[in-house]
Symmetry: C2
Subunit: 509 residues, 2 copies
């Protein structure tokens, strides 16, 4: 009874919130969040201090420790948190390495309430002070209202913001307006290894009663305007290995009489993309969606300042000048980036060596509706053709360590409406409906497998520099983001009430 | 008197040695060397244990320690050893780093005796177990008569062999047949920084009374036949820096709208050399010596087994099939090797990053009579042309951290005759007169500045794998090499006697 009552009260107050900019209940929650912001930042500092780098094998234990830390935190909220074992994976050097476990957590099972599942990851990209960080990447450092540190915005900050929101309800002894589920992984930066299998396996169990899935693992389009994301690019990562002899050779003793693996690899990498950024692999553009007038309008509507984005990038000049061209080449056209070479000399100074085995790393950001497996075949075939024309005596091996599909959602889904209202409440403005040039493969994965409404709700600003030596989240975005998630719980609950009413009226007619 | 007497006795015995395969005096020395070989190997083990890597800045202190260790060893022989300060040098990151001191040592000042100066270096190339070493690169390990370890053959082994030879004379209380000088450096692998200035400065002092200069910093042409080296290729090392923005970027958030520095660099590196190994930079071949009939014959005379060299390389196929073609492309034609890229992702796995600043490293092995400074200009001009055609908004910076001239000597110089006799005595066969595809810039430097007879006398076999993860010197070559240097002292003394006689007869006529 008391529970039911509080739920009604909740709906009432939440109801009010939609008309005014912020209701009494929301005010109480928002005040609590403002008052406790330093505690929330302290927790983020503790999380950033864990070097949960999922790329470098020697740091794998730290990823596992980070996952366990997160599970403890969820249990402290009163959630049941299960650690799902994912087995191990093979490294390029042939060794196999244990994967960190994945968290499936539940908080609340009230059939009266909608169930919202939050996805996040607590692993990070590699970071070393020597890479050019001004601050220690694993020591969260506040400068001018920005919290610098690896994982601050990608993705530890948003995961904690969601947890903070729940914590605030509980601290205020408020009943949760929704049932919550959490799926938190530790291998996102390495391609979410093992995640898809778990989602498939849990589709009939863990996900059976989930109504909405929310992901907060991307950024706004600029530094001030909040955004809702309805699409992302995919990511097809390639390893191109060229092997010559069994060991490195002296360039004086063998230079001039052998096919050098490095020369072959450089030629292969140089055959991929032209100076204008156009991918040279035949057929790659065949399945790219053609641009409709309706889609074109979406870009025109977006407030996007190329200059600001340029400043965020630290780059002097973009390949395109207009807002529309830039957005389309980030969102709806594929791109190819060469990341580096493994096995060659990479330190300062000179080493006059002919490396015996070099591995080039590049990736293609795929877009709707490119077919991942077709893309794989096209690239591998092309590289093999280019290589065979060289008549090299070296050996070529191409592998695809990561392949993540692009994603597009229906922007008219009620979940997006609820999020739009929550954003309006917290930030006083409507969200921009955007896509993301980066890849959050799980959006596509969740939609494909569970068929639930999937939404991406970023809280980080455009200049957060994820993956860079300047990664940060601003204090403001971290704290307002916490409020946003709290407001979202209320809006979804209200939404659910409306949906129920709708279905009730239907049945009574 | 006693001294003079022993000198005469010495000449007498040395005289005998030339006719028979080995004289009584030589026998005594050779026996001593055989008996004490394990001690000699123990010392090499201690030297290899010092990580005197002159490439990586953080190991610079170890290089200095190694130089001091060497000076102590020379003093223990009774030599006076001076440590010459060389100041500091600038690193690519702008920091400046102290250079290790250089050793100038003297042992004996008898005007009756010729003075032989030995050059060697005690720094090494970088080596890490992870690079693929079967043994710890800094722990000398004997397997099947081979002594594996970084620096074993390049160049700590030969430096110690020379020292062992002197030690043997002293242990047997034999008067040294020659005056000895040593010039030992710790920056050879990094381009002998500071060395040239010292040679110039010391030309009128330290080098004034030097008759012969001997270098032992290269390898035989095959695994069994001893060799004498009369020429080497030069080495012109380039750093090609392409700078985009101020920091690395996420390939999802910026891929497709910027000129990626990595794409520019890959295109620049791909423009340097074709699949057949031909350098594509206009004008590079202009000053290469044309092939004379006489030179052609030199190659035909050499016993060289392409198959064996192939096995040493671990490579399946060479670019050329005939002995002559292979030797000419190693010795008298230039080659270009790409060594690696600094600033890009180089670790296992994938990092979806757009590096902001990447530095490509490549080098050209120059040959007589290519002009180093002309070559520099040609390459830089070419790279700038290729880059400007790309209309990239990135910045290109080309620097030349190392430029070492090629070298050719007169094979009819008496010093080569003496060495030929010593080789015949120790190995029972005549040496092959060869060149070296690798670079020992000091040969050219010494000849240019001091105008003395300069000879390169290798003791390592072709399969010693200098700079590789299999660097070694065989126990046999290390010990026989020690004997070779001892025999050389005697032959040079004898040579000197003959020269004096010759000049005496002249004056009496």
């Amino acid at each position: 009874m008391i529970l039911a009552l509080s739920v009604i009260m909740l709906f009432f107050e939440a109801g009010v919130s939609s008309s005014s900019s912020s209701s009494g209940l929301e005010n109480r929650i928002f005040q609590y969040i403002d008052l406790h912001q330093n505690e929330f930042i302290q927790t983020l500092k503790e999380w950033v201090a864990v070097e949960s780098d999922s790329i470098q094998p020697q740091l794998r234990q730290e990823v596992t420790r980070m996952v366990e830390l997160t599970a403890d935190r969820l249990r402290a909220l009163g959630a049941t948190a299960e650690l799902v074992k994912l087995g191990s994976h093979k490294l390029t050097d042939g060794h196999s390495l244990l994967l960190p476990p994945l968290i499936l957590a539940e908080l609340g099972k009230d059939p009266q309430k909608p169930t919202v599942c939050f996805y996040g990851h607590v692993d990070v990209q590699p970071a070393k002070k020597e890479d050019g960080w001004k601050t220690d990447p694993y020591k969260l450092t506040e400068i001018d209202g920005n919290l610098y540190g690896r994982g601050a915005t990608d993705n530890k900050g948003p995961v904690l913001a969601w947890i903070n929101a729940v914590e605030s309800f509980r601290a205020l002894k408020l009943d949760m307006p929704v049932n919550l589920k959490f799926i938190i992984e530790g291998m996102e930066e390495a391609g979410s290894l093992g995640l898809e299998e778990v989602i498939k396996k849990e589709n009939q169990r863990f996900f059976s009663d989930v109504d909405y899935i929310v992901i907060s693992d991307n950024l706004w389009l600029n530094n001030r305007k909040p955004a809702l994301t309805y699409g992302t690019r995919g990511n097809l990562c390639f390893s191109v290995e060229v092997q010559g002899g069994q060991r490195d050779l002296h360039s004086g003793t063998f230079g001039g009489i052998i096919h050098e693996p490095m020369t072959d690899l450089i030629a292969l990498l140089d055959s991929l993309v032209d100076t204008s950024g156009r991918i040279l692999i035949p057929g790659v553009y065949d399945d790219v969606d053609s641009l409709t007038e309706e889609e074109k309008k979406l870009y025109e509507a977006i407030t996007f300042d190329p200059e600001e984005h340029k400043n965020n990038s630290g780059v002097k000049k973009f390949l395109y000048d207009t807002k529309e061209e830039i957005l389309m080449h980030l969102w709806r056209y594929p791109s190819l980036s060469i990341h580096g070479i493994e096995g060659a000399f990479h330190e300062p100074g000179i080493k006059t060596v002919i490396p015996a085995r070099v591995i080039g790393k590049f990736s293609i950001r795929q877009v709707p509706h490119m077919n991942v497996s077709v893309g794989e075949r096209q690239v591998i075939q092309y590289l093999e053709d280019v290589f065979s024309k060289r008549n090299s005596s070296n050996e070529l091996k191409v592998s695809v360590p990561i392949s993540a599909m692009p994603w597009v959602a229906d922007i008219n889904d009620p979940l997006y409406t609820a999020a739009g209202r929550a954003i309006k409440t917290v930030f006083g403005q409507d969200p921009e409906k955007i896509r993301d040039g980066a890849t959050i493969p799980i959006a596509q994965m969740f939609q494909n497998i569970t068929r639930k409404s999937v939404m991406m709700l970023p809280i980080g600003a455009a200049d957060d520099g994820e993956h860079s030596q300047k990664e940060k989240i601003s204090r403001h975005n971290y704290i307002q983001g916490t409020k946003l998630f709290a407001a979202l719980f209320l809006e979804i609950a209200k939404l659910h009430g409306q949906l129920q009413e709708a279905s009730n009226t239907k049945t009574t007619n």
